[in-house]
Symmetry: C2
Subunit: 349 residues, 2 copies
DNA sequence: CCCGAGTCTGACAACGTTGTCCAGGCTCTA
DNA sequence: TAGAGCCTGGACAACGTTGTCAGACTCGGG
């Protein structure tokens, strides 16, 4: 009873009940294995009559091609991986969605994972995806050393970094113009008469945070305003820390009359602080926020197009995959200043 | 020259350059194939010295286990699929994140796709994921007929529906208490003196929309208020339609003095309409919104815990996978009325 | 009526991994 | 020192699919 023996050798943890395979379909339809394969893949060279018989067998058995086996044989998985910081962050929703759209247009599935800003977790995830043999990887880096990806890239895994550049390797990267955007935003405040302007941002080891701080400094320098140390606060974006930082620069002698916030999480917290504050303080935030127009006053922001970031990165990825090899490139997308009121408040003193 | 011949038979489209395999590692380390397998999987029965040699070969070659082959052999992929409507919708971010967290805790990866509310696309996605042999599927249904999943479920693919029940099949489902939540929200308006209350919601074929409408009707009936047809508007949640619907019920003789909105997209649009409206109109919305507390007046909402929905569904999924088979169940999570001002405005007439 | 060209079909190997099973060398005890 | 038992290592088959190649069959023309 060889059939029984064969089944018994199946590893016991299998979930695939006894899923029908092409062999089963072939047996039922009374044709050869390859003929079933041809039908399933729409290859030519099958008479309509045979095709119909095979199709009936497929339907009757509920057969579904096993892509693991297919991948093993063909070498391509038609799936790409996306590693981001936190799917629950509204900034990443549209980005992720845009990557998915492009992947879909290329017939690929998207596998994603959150690094939670932990470099180790990023690496773990990236390598797990490589073990899955994804065709490519879109990474929003948490760490600053990506040499661990070198063997993968050499082996043909297309790789594009988004939002922040890769560390210690040469790879495609798609960024917003963080420096220019921050400079514009701060310049906007200066143009409305502010001189004592605060900056609250993320940890300086994060590339975007550092760039935005640079932009802040540049704008101040352009205007000939010496920056005071206590106007700048960098660190984790937890509400507690941000709240404390904002309160500190809003009190004491010579308090700031305006604040530039380094990302959406910071902005939200600062808005709450300002809502409970007696003096009116101007505010410009990096990243747009839903309902920003409905706040009182409307929130002026430096908006980056997160969907465009995702789309550009994904397209770049598939260009690596489809076409001839191209040299790594750095693409910078412009930001846009959207004025809604909060940045146009005059200084109060 | 058998080696050359073997390589030449590789399908030409392969991306895997010449990725090293266990065979290559074994050759380099001077051990057998299975010994490499044992080292890679941390199985016992390898002397420290041999293990070190194998590990060196692995590092030198940049070997990474091919999970496709592994899956083929073992039958389990350690990955689950999530199908939702639109990743860019803030409601789904936390949900997706919660599912991912649970998956991670079980050592599984998450593959996700957006159905864009298109039943056909949902099916296409679900079947593609099944072809990938995901171990399980979390689905936020767009369609109302899921019989196409029957063969998959029979074959052992764990399946849980979220937010809306499955159509025409018996399966696990995790829902919010849409009916009760809407009823509470509307009752809240009634308690503040409103009698002419509008309802703007999504297309009635969507389960959640229908349930919330039922809740609205129930609250009105409980209060003995006859509902007028022109107070209710169901349809696509595009800003244009919602804006028109809101304007219609706000004008004419006997306009509504309060509006209950059926989801976050509708709520946002209605807030914009009300902001440009002369009369003060009370508002309660289904789904919480970031910054709702900072609007003027603060937005009163019926909040559902989307992260809890995702977590509960994913946990249920892994219970199906880990343990003994369980009968399909319907789990309903409570909603929470959060009062912030907009729902407490008195009627204006 | 036969042969060649063309069409359709199926046997077989290979993709890279893991489970089974056995061989050989070692240690420990009597 | 011999025998029993343990530990390590390796040969082999199988997972389900696809590419190759050759065989069988059909049809039309000579």
């Amino acid at each position: 009873m060889p059939e029984t023996t064969r089944r018994a050798e199946r590893p016991s943890g299998s979930r695939y009940g006894n899923r029908p395979t092409m062999k089963d379909v072939a047996a039922r339809a009374g044709v050869g294995l390859k003929t079933v394969s041809r039908v399933v893949n729409g290859e030519p060279g099958v008479t309509p009559d045979t095709e119909r018989r095979v199709q009936e067998a497929i339907d009757a058995l509920g057969f579904r091609r096993n892509d693991s086996a297919r991948v093993l044989r063909k070498g391509r998985t038609a799936s790409i991986g996306l590693i981001l910081e936190d799917l629950a962050d509204p900034f990443y929703g549209p980005l992720s969605r845009a990557v998915e759209e492009v992947a879909r247009a290329h017939g690929a599935l998207l596998i994603n994972g959150s690094s939670a800003e932990d470099p180790e977790r990023e690496q773990e995830l990236a390598l797990a995806l490589c073990a899955r043999r994804v065709d490519g990887l879109v990474v929003i880096p948490a760490g600053d050393d990506h040499r661990y990806l070198e063997p993968e890239i050499r082996a043909g895994v297309a790789t594009v970094f988004v939002d922040r550049p890769a560390g210690k390797i040469d790879a495609d990267v798609v960024l917003s113009d963080n420096h220019g955007g921050a400079r514009d935003g701060v310049a906007h405040l200066i143009a409305h008469g502010h001189r004592r302007i605060g900056f609250i941002g993320d940890m300086p080891r994060i590339h975007t945070a550092a760039e935005r701080l640079r932009g802040y400094r540049a704008a101040m320098e352009d205007a000939g305003i010496p920056v005071e140390e206590r106007w700048m606060s960098l660190g984790v974006t937890s509400p507690e820390r941000v709240r404390r930082a904002a309160r500190e620069m809003l009190t004491g002698p010579d308090p700031v009359t305006a604040i530039f916030t380094g990302n959406n999480r910071v902005t939200v917290t600062v808005i709450r602080v300002l809502a409970g504050h007696s003096r009116r303080v101007a505010l410009v935030g990096f990243d747009d926020i839903e309902l920003a127009d409905l706040l009182q006053p409307g929130l002026t922001v430096v908006a980056q197009d997160s969907a465009a970031l995702g789309r550009t990165a994904a397209e770049r990825l598939f260009r690596q995959l489809d076409g001839t090899p191209v040299a790594p490139e750095r693409i910078e997308l412009p930001t846009k200043l959207i004025t809604r009121g909060s940045g146009e408040l005059p200084p109060d003193d």
